[in-house]
Amino acid sequence: MTAQISEQLIFEGQKVPLLTNPLNNYFSLGGRDPGFESTSTALWRGYVGTWEILNDRMYLVALNGTLKSGEDADLESVFPGFAHRVFAHWFSGTLRIPQGKRLEYVHMGYSSTYERDVLLTLQNGVVVKQEIRHNGVGDEDAPEGYSIGGMTTRPSRKANHGDDQ
């Protein structure tokens, strides 16, 4: 499995990479999965969600991706009637936000390690604990921030339809 494109989190006023997929929990609890199309080996889940921590509560505020039907996915593809903001009350667990230089690159999932991880523990969508885990000190020339090494992209069905026209 290729290293995966991260989710996005608006946290303390900044947009940062989020190495947790809170929508997985929603789907595993029986939430409606509209069927996302994976167009890249670096995005097997087929979407990128933008989340926000606001007043210690986690919200999904944007969703970008492609559905198997070829249509663009947005928040209402999963949460009809909620076009702008969805309270993630289904999520209990830990969010991982990497910080600092990369210590080790692993071309699989979110397995690469970084100097620090901000770990937010949530209970039913509400932040109950925040801690920083120090994983080590990166080399001087080590890259800063989350990145992935490579991917293979496939044209989406929508693009294919476009080609046919």
Binding site: L19, T20, N25, Y26, S28, L29, G30, G31, R32, L54, N55, R57, Y59, F79, G81, F82, R85, V86, F87, H89, W90, S92, G93, T94, R96, G109, Y110, S111, T113, D117, L119, N124
Partner: protein
């Protein structure tokens, strides 16, 4: 010397047993498929496959039959363990997981989700209301509602802490609905 002949004799009997068992076993679809894909074999390959490999195998079985028995025993034990692991990995609610009997009205009254920004529907289980209504609609006749909680290990070895509701009718505990499915693992995944 007689012990050596006895040892080899036992190996011969064991080898014959293995041969007969293999000859009786129907060829798998996969081996037939591979044979059809392979096409015509050269004479050398034919000699290797039909003569040399069976000869070496026979010698190994006759001379090292205790090791072969141990290997077969280990393989069968691993197969049984793997079958049990796969069976255990299929999630099901067990009688010991049940917590308490409840009702639809009680559950719905306690499952509304509040949000100051109104980013959740005013329905039982909020954004998961459709999963709840689907679960309620699948109630078997005369079944009663129970809550449950358990730890469960997936086929990939990940442990989850699970909670939810299940319809109980006699010994049957199904269908079920999850309200919590938390992975109990390190966040480096």
């Amino acid at each position: 010397m007689i012990w050596l002949w006895l040892y080899l004799g036992l190996g011969l009997v064991f080898g014959l047993g293995v041969y007969v068992q293999n000859a009786r076993r129907p060829k798998s679809d996969m081996s037939q498929l591979l044979a059809s894909m392979r096409g015509a074999q050269s004479r050398t390959d034919q000699i290797l496959e039909k003569v040399l490999a069976p000869a070496l195998g026979s010698i190994l079985i006759v001379t090292a039959w205790p090791a072969v028995i141990w290997f077969i025993y280990k393989e069968r034990r691993n197969e049984k363990r793997e079958a049990k692991r796969r069976s255990d990995a299929v999630f099901r609610v067990r009688p010991e997981d049940l917590i308490g009997q409840t009702t639809i009205a009680e559950v719905e009254a306690s499952s509304f989700v509040k949000d100051p920004l109104n980013a959740v529907p005013d329905l039982p289980f909020g954004h998961l209301n459709a999963a709840w209504t689907d679960f309620v609609s699948k109630r078997p006749a005369d079944a009663v509602l129970w809550s449950f909680a358990c730890d469960w290990t997936s086929e990939w070895g990940t442990q989850f802490s699970r909670r939810g509701y299940v319809w109980v009718l006699g010994d049957a505990l199904s269908p079920w609905m999850l309200t919590q499915d938390d992975a109990m693992e390190d966040v480096h995944d």
